[in-house]
């Protein structure tokens, strides 16, 4: 993998922001890279620890080059720099599961994972589950069939937890699935339907 290389980015935050925007390969709506940039600097003398580094992340099977801060979370990078807004922030402190992604096939709260810690590891987000011809993942299809989503906000996290569960335990009992999915809050209270979907996906996989 590419090692981190400190690109000679202009110290002026505006310049830097423009630069970040220019390297974002995503075709999504305008990036919100500014969200997390220019942490606590005055623009001319960045405080220690606030310097971004360009690293390469492996996201959904693609190498993505992105500038990150040392204290930047994976959720921030995915959402505001790579345009992968499928990963949601419900609490930003590892309590609700809406930001769940897979790292080397294991579910993690991306809001509580530092981006630099996932270099060299495979990150899978909800955008990366569809097959080569756009066919839905078996979990996604099962969630349609069982009416998993209601408002849809916790849904990406539910999907990723379910995919992670089935990778680790392809034939869970309903009770096992209940416990495995207990880290994903759903205020619409669609747990019963989500569990039906997990069991359906396990059956059809």
């Amino acid at each position: 993998m590419t090692t981190t290389d400190d690109m000679a980015i202009g110290r002026d935050p505006v310049t830097r922001r423009r630069f970040i925007k220019s390297v974002i390969a995503s075709g999504a709506a305008t990036s919100a890279a500014a969200y997390y940039l220019a942490g606590c600097s005055d623009g001319s003398a960045p405080a220690s620890g606030s310097v971004e580094r360009l690293i390469t992340l492996k996201v959904n099977g693609q190498d993505r080059r992105v500038d990150i801060l040392p204290n930047e979370t994976l959720a921030m990078t995915l959402r505001y720099k790579l345009g992968l807004t499928g990963t949601k922030l419900g609490c930003d402190r590892g309590e609700c599961g809406a930001c769940t992604v897979l790292i080397n096939d294991v579910g993690h709260n991306s809001c509580s994972t530092l981006t630099h810690s996932v270099r060299g590891r495979a990150v899978t987000t909800v955008e990366g589950l569809e097959g080569p011809n756009g066919e839905l993942h078996v979990v996604q299809q099962a969630m349609i069939d069982e009416l998993g989503p209601q408002c849809g906000f916790c849904t990406p996290g539910q999907v990723m937890s379910a995919v992670g569960l089935l990778k680790a335990n392809p034939k869970p009992t309903r009770e096992e699935a209940r416990h495995a999915m207990a880290g994903n809050l759903c205020r619409c209270g669609a747990y019963d339907h989500y569990l039906n979907a997990v069991m359906r996906a396990a059956k059809s996989a």
């Binding site: 709506a29 992968l84 009416l147 849809g152 906000f153 990406p156 205020r187 209270g189």
Partner: protein, 779 residues
């Protein structure tokens, strides 16, 4: 009709987007050059502000501006409005306490917005907020109802709320009720606490505001339950500009539950800042901010008395309540403990006399307003716990006592002692069906078996009835494009219910077209001419009936065009199975051809061009969904831990438009209802007024691991009050669940002598109740 019509469990057209991460919620949308707004919240429950020094913050890196209420006042920005005024029983004129977007000289709850920073990044805005120096002079605070009602309690407002009572409202016939109690054989009394709830939509509130100098227009992107209401409030009350100068767009909404109906402080600041600084302004609440400044729910205390004759017939009901509305009146806050729910206190029973009085209390807490059910869950909780208690005190089985007093099928339409006219129902039949499905007959055997395993088993019943889907109408616009695609434009606002699917089902059914050819548009005040929004379980009963009324009008228009094509009188034309026919003949023209002709001046005849219609439909009255919840639980006598064994629901929601979506609404509602009963409590510290439950680690939410699998069935008893016969499903589950679970816990604990426990019935509280009952019996 076919697989996509009314009554089919059609899978949702929304879901592929949500499941692939393509949902677009407020924070997924960004504008070039946007700035970030961060709000400084009050750290005190009650304090005078002698000064706010923003000098250092304004000079901080990346800061574009810092705002306080003085700035908003100088700009002539209006205060947040109140829309509920339950009249005072003594006739005292109500004085609405001012509620500015940012504190004006005094803060009245922890988390109240005090100042705002706009900067190039969120981090810079947050850092600068730390540099704002606010000089607070702390005042005594009061956070709960009982303390607020005490003589000499700290006062949240001045003349607006003497003794912290904003209004003292009453309903019913006091004299008739007094007379009923005087002739009672038995009076059963109960005191209940209806715990305060944080609504906690998974998507926090947010706003993205933009001002266009050329057109002098504001655009606000904000997840809501109805963008038209917000537009109107912003234009008339806040900005004082003509309606066309404000555009509100609600994109995907990540849960709302009543709370996203309201006008809150932060979006006002975002909108004002967008003009002031000439850049789009993004604001997103973080989770702690949501707990602090979302409008909370419930928070009542109720004293209720039921008068019965010697046969167990209800003679009268008397309820005296206190409802906490917080430090300021949110738009409908004062209506929730009063007008919104109290008329449902008599429940499913013939109760000839009833009287309710409610004190609307102000405290140093976040405003309280509608939360899923909005007053009806509180009412159902009072009545169903009271009936259960009466059953125990009189020794009449719960089902028998209910059956005796139920409003019978032949009684409908039934006018209650509290003024509602119930539409339809078969209460006893539904309860019997639920009993059978829950195998209540075998319960005692199961209870004995559970006891051998150290478990206290309990069975709880509720028979809820609620009122919804009345009031204002909805006015959809429907139009066909030349290629046969139908667009339904409607002012309700989906926030998880599946409107795009259900409205499309209704139209697919009528026109005989595939659901894929139908687009539903909501949320943008520039695209949707008018709308009342989503709330009170109204969208499918009222919005659906309005879609139906509009498409019928469209078919009439189509007949005019077909009559020209077929050279026949429009009166002789029928529409069926996707074609316009001359009645009694095989001469017909397809819908597709009529759509084509509608755009063709040569073919359509002397009618308006295009195939479209707009129609207003208002319901004849409210609907009264009802049903029976039966909950069976095991309580571990050693630990107090509760486990669901079985949960049975038998509902009457009128006609089931899409059974799968309806089930989802009921299950989700029930999860929220049992969450209130067992886990959830928004707690303020009595000494400091600090919110103690400001995260998901402190505020216990229902999760997959602590919620039951539901055993669900329904009976369709259509309502005559809307054309589709639908009663509404959005809140029914919440209303039925809370008392059923509570009654199950009390039934389980009755084996060790516990007769009362308040919500939330946490493991700790259950364990304490068991310990205290056992030490009492040992003494």
């Amino acid at each position: 009709m076919g697989n996509f019509g009314i009554g089919q469990a059609v899978r949702r057209v929304e879901d592929k987007r949500f499941l692939t991460g393509a949902g677009q919620y407020t924070d997924d949308i960004n504008k070039p050059g946007q700035l970030y707004l961060h709000i400084l919240h009050s750290p005190h429950a009650h304090a005078d502000i002698s000064s706010i020094d923003t000098t250092a913050a304004k000079a901080a890196p990346g800061v574009v501006g810092v705002l306080t209420q003085a700035d908003l006042d100088a700009l002539g920005i209006g205060d947040i409005l109140n829309l509920a005024a339950p009249p005072h029983k003594d006739g005292r004129a109500l004085e609405v306490p001012a509620r500015p977007a940012l504190a004006r000289g005094r803060v009245r709850y922890v988390g109240e917005p005090v100042a705002a920073v706009v900067a190039d990044t969120l981090a810079n805005a947050k850092d600068a907020a730390d540099l704002i120096e606010v000089d607070y002079k702390e005042l005594p605070a009061v956070v709960d109802i009982a303390d607020a009602a005490k003589p000499g309690a700290p006062l949240v407002h001045g003349t607006e709320a003497p003794g912290n009572v904003w209004t003292h409202w009453q309903l019913g016939d006091e004299a008739a009720t007094k007379a009923a109690f005087e002739k009672a054989h038995k009076v059963v009394k109960i005191d209940l606490i209806n715990n305060r709830i944080a609504p906690t939509a998974m998507e926090p509130r947010g706003a993205l505001a933009e001002y266009d100098v050329a057109t002098e227009r504001y655009t606000l992107i904000q997840g809501s339950q109805g963008s038209h209401k917000l537009r109107d409030w912003f234009a008339k009350n806040i900005l004082k500009v003509p309606l066309d100068k404000v555009r509100v767009i609600s994109p995907d909404v990540g849960g709302a539950f009543g709370m996203k109906n309201f006008l809150f402080n932060e979006p006002i600041v975002a909108v004002v800042a967008s003009k002031l600084y000439g850049k789009p302004i993004k604001w997103m609440a973080d989770r702690a901010g949501s707990f602090l400044n979302d409008a909370h729910g419930r928070d009542q205390i109720n004293h209720a008395e039921l008068a019965l004759d010697k046969d167990g017939m209800f003679l009268g009901l008397r309820v005296s309540s206190f409802g906490n509305v917080g430090a300021y009146l949110s738009q409908f806050g004062a209506a929730i403990p009063t007008m919104a729910g109290c008329a449902m206190l008599v429940g499913a029973y013939r109760t000839p006399a009833a009287y309710v009085d409610v004190r609307v209390m102000m405290t140093n807490t976040a405003p309280v307003d509608a939360y899923r059910g909005a007053g009806r869950p509180e009412a159902a909780y009072v009545m169903e716990r009271l009936v259960d208690k009466a059953s125990r005190e009189l020794g009449i089985p719960a089902a028998e006592l209910r059956r005796k007093n139920f409003i019978r099928p032949e009684d409908f339409p039934y006018k209650t002692a509290l003024g509602h006219k119930y539409d339809s129902g078969r209460y006893a039949e539904l309860m019997d069906a639920a009993y059978k499905r829950a195998d209540v007959a075998g319960f005692e055997t199961r209870r004995a078996a559970a006891k051998k395993n150290g478990k206290l088993r309990g069975l709880g019943i509720s028979y809820y009835v609620e009122a919804c889907a009345g009031g204002q109408g909805e006015q959809p616009h429907l139009k066909f494009d030349a290629d046969g695609k139908l667009t339904i434009i409607i002012g309700t606002q989906d926030n998880g219910q599946g409107h795009r699917t259900v409205y499309a089902q209704i139209a697919a059914d009528a026109f005989g077209i595939p659901i894929e050819n139908i687009v539903v548009k909501q949320g943008d005040t520039d695209e949707v001419p008018t709308g009342v929004g989503t709330g009170g379980s109204r969208s499918i009963p009222v919005g659906g009936s309005a879609v139906r009324a509009t498409l019928l009008k469209m078919i009439e228009h189509g007949k005019d065009i077909a009559s020209n094509l077929l050279e026949a009188s429009a009166q002789d034309i029928e529409f069926d199975a996707g074609a316009f026919k001359i009645a009694g003949t095989d001469r017909k023209v397809s819908l597709k051809d009529v759509i084509g002709a509608s755009f063709d001046d040569a073919k359509r005849g002397d009618v308006k061009p295009g195939l479209y219609a707009a129609e207003t439909y208002a319901p004849a009255g409210a609907t009264f969904p009802n049903g029976c919840h039966i909950c069976e639980v095991d309580v571990d006598a050693e630990t107090g831990e509760l486990e669901f064994v079985n949960y049975t629901i038998q509902d009457d929601l009128g006609y089931a438009m899409n059974p799968l979506l309806m089930e989802g609404q009921i299950f989700g509602g029930a999860v929220q209802g049992l969450g209130q009963c067992l886990f959830e409590h928004a707690v303020y510290d009595k000494e400091t007024g600090q919110l103690m439950t400001g995260s998901f680690m402190d505020y216990t939410m229902p999760r997959a691991g602590n919620t039951p699998r539901f055993n669900y069935a329904y009976t369709e008893v259509p309502t005559p009050n809307n054309t589709l016969g639908i009663k509404g499903a959005g809140e029914a589950g919440t209303i039925g669940a809370t008392p059923a679970v509570a009654n199950a816990v009390i039934d389980a604990l009755s084996a060790v002598g516990v007769t009362h426990i308040d919500m939330p019935m946490t493991g700790l509280k259950i364990w304490q109740a068991i310990q205290s009952a056992q030490s009492k019996s040992a003494a």
